[in-house]
Amino acid sequence: MIVKLNFTGRERILREEIIVAPKENGGNIVSFGISLDNTRMGLAGDARLIVEAYHKSEFRRFDWGTVAAPVQPKDTDLSGLGNSANLKLRVKVVNYNSKHGCIIGEAEGIPIVETETDKKSILPIYFTDLRNQVWRLTYNQENEGEPVLEVRSALKPFAKGNPEFFFNVYPPALAQILWHLLTVRKVRAESDENADWENNWLKFAVRISGQNPPAGEEDPGEWIKDVVDTFCGKYAAIWEKYLHIEQGK
């Protein structure tokens, strides 16, 4: 079981408490602004606001002044970093009054440019080179183990909105994620201690099935089957229509 200890009382900064203002040039993100709403958390005003832009081994760190008096750094140039479209932000509030700088608030995986996918999807899709595989699930350790659907690049034009892709990929992916969530990460109820993605997936599954997952160590297999089956049922009409069209060809 993954145990999360929080001795320092650090706050999880919510996504809606951070506003990112990207500056683009010719379609590339060249810099950005950021602001933090501290109303709910009430973090110490003299704590430093640190922003890190990252994607894989690409990394830049910015000192944004203090919580009470944020100061935009002179240089927030991101144009030298590779994969600028995939860069994410990590926002940390750090208290330097202690011996070592203690993190008292943190948010990770904040997109600089929020796409429709970022806004709506709980399962980010990366098109990548998977050699012999068509798709696979990975768990992004840079974002608290959030599940990511990786799909072979060649399928990019084909995947979006394609019922065959949808029904071959999403139901087993959903089952795998729920199994991982309930048995590996041992998350069976929403909690502030959970990662955002864990709460989002749990909420999503409960909304589909109308039932909470079994508590404790009880085998969640049947509940997961039910969620996946109901999920497929919601889209059955699309599948039927697709089959009808295919058979008519």
């Binding site: 894989k56 081994s57 994969n83 750090v94 070592h100 203690c102 350790q141």
Partner: protein, 238 residues
């Protein structure tokens, strides 16, 4: 000497086919002709000559590549599999010395799957050297065809790999200055339990993962990181 190009999709497929056949035990010659073929590779917008040299270790290879590729912006190199595959193919007989065992495909063929990037003998050598300079010696002071524990343990941790002060701390802990090599036993495991021995590299990555939840490790200097480490690391500290 040859002018650096980038393998196109067909060139990369041909390179991958060569690796797959070789790994499968077939005796096939490397398709070196595709390095200059317009059908399989493309010219770059800059002209860079790459020599086929004998390097004593990956560190020298990385230095050479970093110097040669310095005219290309980093963002155009990161994840540019066509360029890395071109270089790997040119150097294939050094990356896979005759008579040695073929390693995993990703050691030679640069997948655009980023989770494999750090395992590529060529691309990762350039990446880590271009960011960390001489401190990258713990990763790269190896034979040309060796991906050591430092590369595996830290290269896979892309949340800490770009941290220059952290890599300096790793260098301070585990580099034997007198012998110009990694310190003896720094990746050792207990023979019975297979658990990493106290203060070793695996313990360091584990400890740092825990600390990074509480402390702003990315904001610390090398000395601050070393001071933060628990007693088990004392015997490794400079």
């Amino acid at each position: 000497m040859a002018e650096l190009r980038k393998l196109n999709e067909h060139g990369r497929a041909k390179f991958l086919e060569y690796i797959s056949k070789s790994r499968g035990g077939e005796m096939v010659a490397p398709p070196l002709d595709i390095l200059t073929s317009d059908e399989y590779s493309e010219k770059l917008s800059v002209s860079i000559d790459i020599e086929l040299k004998d390097f004593p270790d990956r560190l020298s290879y990385a230095k050479y590549l970093t110097e040669k590729l310095s005219v290309i912006p980093r963002k155009n190199l990161v994840g540019n599999s066509g360029i890395w595959d071109w270089i790997s193919l040119m150097y294939i007989q050094k990356l896979h010395p005759e008579g040695s065992r073929w390693k995993e495909t990703n050691k030679y063929y640069c997948s655009s799957d980023y989770s494999d990037w750090y395992r590529n003998l060529t691309a990762f050598a350039w990446d880590v050297y271009s960011v960390h300079g001489e401190s990258s010696r713990v990763f790269l002071k190896t034979k040309m065809d060796v991906h050591n524990d430092f590369s595996e343990q830290i290269g896979s941790r892309q949340d800490i790999l770009p941290n220059k002060e952290f890599v300096k701390a790793v260098d301070a802990l585990y580099w034997n200055q007198a012998r110009q090599r990694q310190k003896e036993g720094c990746t050792a495991r207990d023979r019975e339990t297979n658990q990493p021995m106290p203060g070793t590299l695996n313990r360091l990555t584990w400890v740092l993962r825990q600390f990074s939840i509480t402390y702003d490790i990315n904001g610390m200097s090398k000395d601050e990181i070393l001071n933060l480490l628990p007693e088990e690391f004392n015997k490794w500290k400079p």
